[in-house]
Symmetry: C2
């Protein structure tokens, strides 16, 4: 049995196409009795308006595209969900794509979204792709980028203060007496360049180290390929014994998770022997043992900024750049280093 179309509904209900269409689109021009007759016909025929025909015929779509790198990292999952909820409230549908950190998939997702005539596009990825950004910028569609991306008349860059967050983390550790810091980073894609978001964290680390001007400060940076937690574990297994450190800063909470396991498996107590700081304040961080000190990137504010920029009236100029503050959430994973005995 073929799908019912609007004609079938009109015939069964004994009304015109226009009337069925009016009912479907909740226009208040149809008498109640007629409306009910149409609804009944829809019900009996299991009619569902064809999405493509509908959107092809419509003028404006009220769809927002959201592209994230990965759903396994709670930071992306939370961000996507909060944006989705916010958009829904304003009557926008959300189309979500996942790139798995692949620039090719990012490009394909942007193309697909532009073809879907989205009214706004949020690119919330860690990876970047020039072609994808060019396509987005040239389309004239409103875009929001997360720290990466292309300036343009229709695009807003949300500059998350990653440097400031990282500086706060370093400063906190120095303040409580640490002098040997280990910075653990990971590269989610084997061959790719360092993610820009990681680079900002790097810069913050370097800047903080410099700004503090502590003469006897020792810092080590360890880079591990791979995704998330396992990379953190690997980093610890490589660092322990090779050089001394009393505190670890992980480039993300997910990596911090691996750092925890790496330390605890080897009997190193947190924070008595080694302090740990994460980055992102993902939802699990306060449930770790000990609860993780981490840099918060406020998701609710982020999603509001995204939605605001993407749903601005057509005529208005979009802000080129907005700044999103971050702040350190101090929990029990950091403490003064044990005195050398």
């Amino acid at each position: 049995m073929a799908r019912a179309k609007i004609q079938d509904v009109a015939r069964l209900a004994g009304v015109s196409l226009s009337t069925v269409s009016a009912v479907l689109n909740n226009k208040n021009v149809v008498r109640e009795a007629t409306r009910l007759r149409v609804l009944e016909a829809i019900e009996r025929l299991h009619y569902r308006p064809d999405h493509y025909a509908r959107n092809l015929a419509r003028r404006s779509l009220r769809v927002i595209g959201v592209i994230v790198s990965n759903l396994q990292n709670p930071f992306f999952a939370e961000t996507a969900q909060v944006i989705e909820n916010e958009a829904e409230r304003l009557g926008y549908a959300v189309s979500l794509a996942v790139t798995n950190f692949s620039p090719q998939r990012l490009r394909a997702a942007v193309q697909q979204m532009l073809g879907a005539r989205i009214s706004g596009l949020a690119i919330m990825t860690s990876e970047r792709d020039e072609m994808a950004f060019d396509m987005a910028a040239q389309s004239g569609v409103r875009c929001v980028y997360l720290d990466v991306g292309k300036p343009g008349p229709a695009s807003t860059n949300i500059r998350v203060d990653l440097r400031g967050g990282m500086m706060a983390a370093v400063k906190h550790l120095i303040d409580i007496g640490h002098r040997d810091l280990l910075f653990v980073r990971n590269a989610p894609i084997q061959s790719g360049p360092l993610l820009l978001s990681h680079r900002y964290r790097d810069q913050g680390f370097a800047a903080a180290v410099k700004a503090c001007g502590i003469p006897n400060l020792q810092t080590h940076i360890i880079d591990v390929p791979g995704l998330g937690a396992p990379a953190g574990e690997e980093a610890i297994s490589r660092a322990l014994g090779r050089f001394p450190f009393t505190a670890v800063i992980a480039v993300s909470d997910i990596v911090a998770l691996g750092v925890y396991l790496g330390l605890q498996q080897r009997g190193v107590r947190i924070p008595q022997e080694v302090s740990v700081v994460g980055f992102d304040n993902t939802n699990f961080s306060r449930f770790l043992n000990p609860p993780l000190t981490t840099v918060d990137i406020p998701r609710d504010k982020l999603s509001r900024l995204v939605i605001e920029a993407l749903t601005l009236p057509i005529s208005s100029r979009v802000p080129r750049s907005v700044r999103l503050g971050t702040h350190l959430v101090v929990r029990a994973s950091t403490a003064s280093p044990a005195r050398r005995s």
Copy 2:
């Protein structure tokens, strides 16, 4: 400047519509020189084929719909991502919707997906909605349900052996000597009925308790409204002191996270004083301190079953029901209870 259409490309390249269309769809009938000319025109005009016009004109779409309850719970996020990767490999696009545990949103998502002429629909939610299931079943579209859902000629129910998993968990605890068990459940929606997935876990718990036939076994069940980890924390704060228990089974890993915090904040050591078992084997569970004993629901196998059922040739009969085994992963969060002194 209006969006370019296929006509504009044809004109600029000096070819016919059909030729541009052939290039867009990678048909091997266009001379290389012509193809390049078309691609250049596309480039210059920033042309992106309209998604809706395209799909309206096409016969088959190769799109799979996936509906999940929530992205904050890693179980759903991981499942969605694995299905997406698998589908992509087979040349299917994936449309993802999130319900936030709302039956209304589930219904809307199903309607929307049916209107999008998906070739298959995976409903991977905890909540259920009769109307949504009816609509899906009557549409004739291939459906896969996760434990909930409606039998029908085109639908496959993946029966995750939650009961078996729960029995294994209970049996493990009893085997190592526990006699006072606390079962912590949560209801993500305030008013809604108990989730079916939770009900199976309940049944498993009851069945295991019965099957073990231990005379002096004490069990307590505590129900907490709310989502995820905070519910687990709340449960512990209510249970501690009110009744004795040496082991906790949490209805999900996320809830177990809250149980950990609840116990550890009150100085109760895991597993020395209280053992904890989770459910789902989400990616963070092995990184907890101590690593969490939990019931594994194999995501890769699950996604393969989903994709298989949804991409079966049109003519073939779909299996009504397939079974997905679960197994207990024993880690350091469970141990024999301390002897009463």
